[in-house]
Symmetry: C4
Subunit: 184 residues, 4 copies
């Protein structure tokens, strides 16, 4: 991971963020959709998250940033990981993401400029057009990068979410103090 | 993912496609054949698909393109994923692929020029010699690339199928309208 | 996969091979040792093989080449995959590999110059010093590359075994005829 | 894997090491946190270790180096792998790592200069500031690389631990003798 550089206009956007939302597959994971065949003909879902992303999200929570995810899929694996990372909002089975977004904004009592969203593919675009800080992961599709205020150097499932957290906490001047508060 | 460029002769081939077929291992996946050892001495198959490919295939179905796969292996994991991606034709346990191909073409009521096939290895070559649009994934073997009309920039299991879908829908002038129809 | 180039002295060695043996972890796989935690405190082994390698080994068997593996670990996953690839010799739980090697050579009725061995790490070195054709995978340790007659361009678990098979079958003038015999 | 070069001051530090400790996720693994969804809504942890790292750690034990790990997570998969690699110290569920470190140092009867520690993220920093030889994996965060005496060329889960073992055993002049003692 290289050291992060933040332009002044980006810093202004990032400093206002109170809620950090994100997609799951291809954003919190590398996009792999992994299924374990079962003897009865069914299949169980396996998800691979990233340890650096997890450390970032836990620090975000410690720093007072509220976090959440909105995804079209559903799995106990995501629920467990979201809990480990102290995520407050978890919306699964959302083929269209806007209703979940609006419910989160209402519950959190914030407006669009206080929300950041990290995404990688077409269903993320409507939210990215609304939020104060739209972040595309490094390996997102061109249409998503086009609407993003920032594209991470890191790839999805390999530090993209961590980079987004650092971008926000550094813009708020909170990252330095967080280093000593990191827990394994 | 870089933006796709399509040459005029390729566009002519792609614009005629009504059915998009593909291999599974090394085409819809990165070629990993993953087995989970069981206490009774058996093993269960794990398959890793790609979220971007899945989004592409779902959009293809929405756009009216019929899709399917022909593979030598068999697994509940593939069946579940094929259903999620609204695949119409799923042929498993096909050591030789031509009979399945001919059955699909007959059922779909199309001729060879209306079919595209994506492959990566030797058993895919006979089909690739027949279809209107033969696509090799970026990491296919040299013999396959030699018979392909197009080789994807993306690697198998990392967007190769998505790139093929975009190639076809853009050649038909349908991609732009699909962006707003994407569902997570 | 690039097209393979074979030097005349290498071709002489490879043309004599009747038995192709190999290590498993870091040779037939990418070196990942994957364990699934069980509720009872135990763990089940997951192994990821490569589809291109599998196609190569199946073609090797079709071409009359006898194949096998010698490994320190043990898993039902390997047993199933070895069967799928028509491997004749499977020796598991072999911390020292020479006894298994000598048993295979005796059973197969061949001498060292007719055997090829593919390896990646220190325990493979004694066998690689004996066989007629010692092959190191692309990401093997320096000590292994030093004793190898050939180092594959491909990495372990990503075509290294396939490259070894092609090297042998092409040196024997058998590869071209095999292409049409490939089965999925 | 390239051949390792060791500077004289680094060699002095490494030659004194008697105990080699390390983090797990992002150090012994590539940082992937993999969860298998269960039908009852729970999730089981899957961990992927590296065969080259394992060979290195087993050789370290053979050479008389004592090894161990300290991690915030907990899994039967890690316990099994640690046993396979003859690890003496395994401390799981340690959100803060210093107490475990101090207990290990006391049990082993050594002082800080005789301990090496390999890490990748913020919770590893306090230990890396104390030990005689602090090693950062190749893909560790910038804050960790800053406090390390050595950063591995290899990435975590792909030989970083092996490189650390070689660094220590070569500095002690023990590596050459170990090559023939390697067991699969």
């Amino acid at each position: 991971m290289p050291t992060l550089k933040i332009s002044p206009p980006l810093k202004m956007r990032a400093a206002q963020i109170k809620v950090l939302l994100m997609d799951v597959d291809g954003t919190m994971t590398d996009g792999g959709v992994t299924l374990l065949s079962q003897p009865d003909g069914g299949a169980l879902e396996i998800k691979t998250f990233d340890a650096h992303d997890g450390q970032g999200l836990t620090l975000a929570a410690t720093a007072g940033l509220r976090t959440g995810c909105i995804t079209g899929r559903e799995s106990p694996a995501l629920l467990r990981r979201a809990k480990e990372m102290k995520m407050e909002f978890v919306y699964m089975k959302q083929p269209v993401k806007m209703p979940a977004y609006e419910e989160i904004v209402r519950k959190a009592g914030v407006t669009d400029p206080a929300v950041a969203y990290i995404g990688d593919d077409l269903p993320d675009i409507p939210l990215m057009r609304r939020v104060g800080l739209a972040i595309a992961v490094g390996d997102s599709v061109p249409e998503v990068r086009k609407v993003a205020h920032y594209t991470t150097k890191a790839m999805a499932g390999h530090g993209a979410v961590r980079e987004a957290v650092e971008l926000i906490l550094k813009s708020k001047g909170l990252w330095g103090a967080m280093i000593d508060k990191a827990r394994a």
